[in-house]
């Protein structure tokens, strides 16, 4: 059977969503629900000396006020916030009388109504003994880790750089950024059917069964994680949040359901974010622009206690045929909440640095930046020497150049001027993102009625994983999506993987496809006619069976059955980008056209053209949306977003959606997306690679390079603001 190409179907849950009927975690109708509110710490580091609860307890409607004394038995485990699976790392607030970052919860007030909970929280008085802290990675008291987090090298890059005809040696600064999904992170804990159900809009429902149970000292079977819909995740919802175990414990202690919707200004402090980073890039090329050497050193801010890695160096050496490479990534620790994975966590900042450096190199060599990239295209990974499973980056570049009419770009900056006097600039940049997969357990049931149920691993957070699952079932079984029920994001239905790292489709599509093929095979055995063209449920009805059920484990390439065991225990078990025979990446080329107002320096992104190699496209409509979204993120990162910390106070000062400037509708012009749409069957039976993150990688660099082309200004930090171009 061949996979359908480039299908265009309506988003499968769009109907529910446009009617406002999709129920997110905080929307669950639960009788007798209590409301909670946190009291945020107003110091950065120190001890809690005393908490005066009298006024809070007197607030009408307050049921109970919890402090660290109530939660001292909660354990910090590798599943806790900030541990990233590492023993000894991570930090769970409210388990002792200490404060380790501004804004962390120090008291939890539970009340009959939300208004009473808020009033109660405001009435709590906490006395602190604060201690010296360091809130900036440039600060003397910041803790510089002596050893690099990671290093990659091939050849003698220092020597090759020293003898190169053209050399670039530049430093780029990437600011702290915050995910800000519009769904506020919330936790609802309720005893239902003898189990404690945790409703949280999460990318990792399993963390709310296994992980939370470990922290609370409960049997994992007593807990169930339910993430019906996630209102945007982008990596911020990929694990247990600071408040999750507090709400679960409060519900257990009160034996009543409790809901906490975290206020946005607190989320800037309790939830993860993309940490600030510095990038030194050295590129050396010969007369013809052939890359002889790449040297790349990065430093990233982390909290004192977290296990979040620094992997800026992982992707750049795979972009081009570097003759030699030397890269290292280091961490500096400060007194802040733990950072984490934010859409293209390291790939976006590193692409900003290295793809802007490529633009600088193109200028130094005197080459067109598209030509420079084409001249250094490669089908093999310079670091491992392995071939790529598939790489159509050159096609992306050529097609994109044509779509955006790259030929009108002038090599000299400030040469293209619009009728109203605005400077016009065109910029290009490329990106890649690893091709990862994760195991899944899938149960597929076909009813003779025509109804079909599938329970599998994965979370719907807008990327369209339900569409991917439906597309494969439709493709193999011809099932009407109207009769399909997809149960995901719920540990009560199937073991759940952490849905992140763009491995959702690469895992869910093969899982659904394998289950569908297995069901088709079983049906063929039952009916004796495997090739029947009749609808499958009609075939099934003919056998006089009410239903047919299959369960399939899908184990990604390079893993064995242990991966399923890990999945069942909620432990991430992903593959990629390195596989035994090859390296797997998705690829993208972005072209940006900007207009810069000369008097005020305002930059407007008129149009972006993005051409993607993500393997087979499962649904053109939703895939296009995902790429457009990634480009909007790239524009936001290039021109708008930065979390700002006053080093005297720590915390995030611009902690709301008015001051943390996200792109609005008026900021976005045309975004044209095209796909190579060549399946990568080396990676999996569905031929898919990831899309959600590669969509963003390189987009900011394309904008920044376009700004240079328009103005002649090299801005080496993000975001580019008005004051940078005045």
């Amino acid at each position: 059977m061949t996979q359908k190409r480039t299908v265009d179907r309506p988003r499968i849950d769009a109907h529910e969503k446009v009617l406002g009927r999709a129920l997110y975690a905080a929307d669950q109708p639960i009788p007798g629900l209590l409301h909670a509110m946190t009291v945020p710490a107003t110091i950065v580091t120190g001890r809690i000396e005393a908490i005066d609860l009298t006024a809070a307890m007197n607030v009408q409607g307050v049921v109970r006020v919890f402090t660290h004394e109530d939660f001292s038995q909660i354990k910090t485990t590798p599943a806790s916030r900030g541990a990233y699976g590492q023993p000894g790392k991570g930090y769970q607030p409210m388990t002792g009388p200490v404060v380790r970052h501004r804004g962390e919860p120090v008291v939890l007030v539970v009340a009959e109504t939300l208004e009473a909970a808020i009033e109660g929280a405001e009435a709590v008085k906490v006395r602190y003994a604060d201690e010296a802290f360091s809130a900036a990675m440039e600060d003397d008291r910041a803790g510089r880790e002596p050893e690099p987090e990671s290093e990659l090298s091939t050849g003698d890059a220092e020597a090759a750089f020293a003898s190169a005809n053209h050399r670039i040696d530049v430093e780029y600064l990437h600011p702290q950024q915050h995910h800000n999904p519009i769904e506020l992170i919330s936790t609802t804990a309720a005893f239902e059917d003898g189990e404690l159900r945790i409703y949280e809009g999460t990318q990792a429902a399993a963390a709310f069964a296994g992980g939370l149970a470990g922290m609370m000292g409960l049997d994992p079977t007593q807990l169930r994680g339910v993430s019906p819909y996630t209102g945007g995740g982008f990596g911020q919802k990929n694990g247990i949040q600071e408040q999750s175990v507090l709400v679960a414990s409060a519900a257990a202690l009160l034996n009543r359901p409790v809901k906490l919707v975290m206020p946005r200004n607190q989320l800037f402090h309790t939830a993860s974010y993309r940490p600030r980073s510095r990038h030194r890039v050295r590129l050396g090329a010969d007369e013809q622009g052939r890359l002889l050497a790449g040297l790349y050193e990065t430093v990233q801010q982390n909290s004192r206690y977290d296990g979040f890695g620094c992997e800026h160096g992982a992707n750049p050496p795979r972009m081009y045929g570097y003759g030699s490479w030397l890269g290292s990534d280091r961490v500096v620790r400060v007194d802040t909440q733990t950072p984490g994975h934010q859409r293209a966590p390291h790939e976006h900042p590193s692409s900003f640095a290295t793809e802007c450096a490529m633009d600088e190199l193109a200028e130094a060599v005197g080459m067109d930046p598209v030509e420079l990239r084409l001249a250094n295209d490669t089908q093999n990974d310079p670091i491992t020497g392995k071939p790529f499973s598939s790489r159509h980056l050159a096609d992306c570049l050529r097609r994109g150049a044509k779509l955006v009419d790259w030929s009108r770009r002038m090599r000299e900056p400030r040469a293209l001027v619009a009728e109203n006097g605005d400077l016009i600039g065109l910029g290009v940049a490329c990106g890649s993102y690893k091709g990862s997969m994760t195991p899944a357990v899938t149960r597929l049931r076909l009813f003779a009625s025509g109804r079909c149920e599938i329970a599998t691993s994965g979370h719907e957070m807008g990327q369209g994983i339900r569409n991917v699952i439906a597309a494969e079932l439709t493709d193999v079984l011809g099932i009407d999506p109207e009769n399909l029920e997809i149960r995901i994001g719920d540990t009560g239905h199937a073991p759940q993987h952490l849905t992140a790292g763009s491995w959702g489709t690469g895992s869910a599509a093969p899982a659904a496809r394998s289950a569908a093929m297995k069901l088709r095979e079983e049906l063929g055995l039952l009916t004796g006619s495997a090739l029947s063209e009749e609808p499958v449920h009609v075939q099934l009805a003919r056998t006089r069976r009410p239903l047919l059920e299959v369960t399939v484990d899908t184990i990604p390439l390079g893993k064995d059955g242990q991966a399923i065991e890990q999945l069942r225990r909620g432990i991430p078990s992903t593959t990629g980008p390195e596989y035994p025979e090859f390296m797997a990446f998705s690829w993208i080329a972005h072209f940006a056209e900007v207009r810069v107002e000369t008097s005020t320096g305002r930059v407007r992104v008129r149009r972006v053209v993005s051409v993607v190699d993500c393997g087979r496209v499962m649904n053109r409509r939703t895939a296009q949306s995902q790429v457009q979204g990634g480009v909007v993120w790239g524009i936001g990162a290039a021109l708008r977003e930065a979390g700002e910390t006053d080093p005297r106070f720590g915390g995030v000062l611009n902690n709301d959606l008015a001051e943390y400037v996200l792109p609005v509708n008026a900021d976005i012009g045309a975004i044209d997306v095209d796909f190579i749409d060549q399946p990568d069957f080396k990676l999996n039976i569905s031929g898919v690679k990831g899309l959600g993150e590669v969509a963003m990688v390189g987009a900011s660099a394309a904008v920044v390079n376009a700004v240079y082309n328009a103005t002649g200004r090299r801005v080496r930090h993000l975001p580019i603001r008005i004051e940078d171009l005045l």
Binding site: T42, R102, E122, S599, G651, D656, E659, A666, D667
Partner: protein
């Protein structure tokens, strides 16, 4: 937010009486887009809300008389869409339509908007930050001075406060010599807008020349031919739905091709809506070109004083004003 009482008043008299009866902690609420927001942030703590959004006739818009009259309860969206305002006073219409979002303009009143409080993040972060702020807690100090001051004012600042006056509409009204109509227990009074906004000086918590129990009932704007040759230019960190980094309200009364009288006010750069007298003087009697426009822009910032991160506002403010003058100038042709 503490528990509170809520009453809706039908007349000004009813409202002022309710205010007097309620005693301490009484506050008027109109659209609520500032007050309720600050209540949620723990910055404002009223015990009694007296809703004055639907006072009889408070939403009257009257552009037919000698002056333009806007009832304090008129919605920002409605004044922005008024035909006379749109065609003959774009400075006013644009200042409204470039503020906030349509949802908020459908809630906020033009009277309430002139009482909008600063967006200084040290002021607004009452709960998490508990940062020193002389406006929120007189005598506690000013964290913005020596801090992240990119959005702070460069004009009208004092050593106790550099918070920016956030509005757009008040800037346009300042340029147009508006008068604020006020009623209180002692009867009605009118305050020229130039006297309505206070400089922070040593008392930054006192922002408006209005007493407890008084209600803004309306705004009058003298009619002028300059209205047609006018604009409100707002430069911000994104294309829409953001506060001004710098804005300029410009209206030009002409004698042939020469400016007879320029009306100029600035926003986003000052501690109150800022009348740019120097720029007006410089333009009066002149024909408009880019050079004179920029000279006027620079003159408006002659006395500006910047902190660590907001010096760009001096140049940006000058250029924004120059651009606005050019736009208004083009309308005279």
């Amino acid at each position: 937010m503490r528990s509170l009482s809520y009453v809706r008043a039908r007349t000004v008299r009813e409202a002022t009486q309710a205010f007097a009866t309620a005693g301490e902690g009484a506050r008027y609420i109109a659209g609520g887009t500032t007050l309720y927001d600050l209540m949620k942030l723990g910055v404002e703590h009223p015990a009694h809300l007296i809703d004055i959004a639907s006072l009889d006739g408070a939403d009257r818009i009257d552009t037919g008389g000698d002056v333009l009259f806007f009832g304090a309860g008129a919605l920002m969206a409605d004044v922005a869409e008024d035909d006379v305002v749109r065609h003959d006073y774009p400075i006013l219409a644009e200042s409204l339509s470039k503020a906030a979002s349509q949802q908020l303009r459908n809630m906020a009143t033009v009277g309430g908007n002139i009482l909008q409080r600063t967006r200084c993040p040290y002021f607004r972060n009452g709960a998490i930050g508990a940062y020193p702020c002389n406006k929120r807690e007189p005598g506690s100090g000013c964290a913005a001075i020596g801090g992240l001051d990119r959005s702070q004012a460069v004009l009208g600042i004092s050593d106790t406060c550099t918070a920016v006056s956030p509005g757009d509409w008040p800037v346009a009204l300042t340029a147009m010599d508006a008068t604020i109509e006020i009623q209180g227990p002692a009867g009605p009074r009118s305050v020229p807008i130039a006297e309505f906004y206070r400089l922070p000086g040593g008392t930054p918590h006192l922002e408006f020349s209005i007493e407890g129990g008084e209600i803004v009932t309306g705004i009058s704007v003298p009619k002028t031919e300059a209205g047609k040759n006018s604009t409100y230019l707002k430069v911000r960190d994104r294309e829409s739905y953001a506060f001004a980094l710098a804005s300029a309200a410009v209206a030009l009364a002409m004698d042939g091709d020469r400016v007879r009288r320029a009306h100029i006010a600035l926003g986003g750069v000052a501690t109150r809506p800022w009348r740019a007298h120097e720029a007006e003087t410089l333009l009066n009697g002149q024909t408009i070109d880019r050079e004179i426009a920029l000279a006027a822009g620079r003159s408006a910032f002659a006395d500006a004083s910047a902190g660590e991160h907001n010096a760009f506002k001096i140049e940006l403010g000058a250029r924004t004003l120059a651009d606005a003058i050019m736009t208004a100038g083009r309308k005279t042709q």
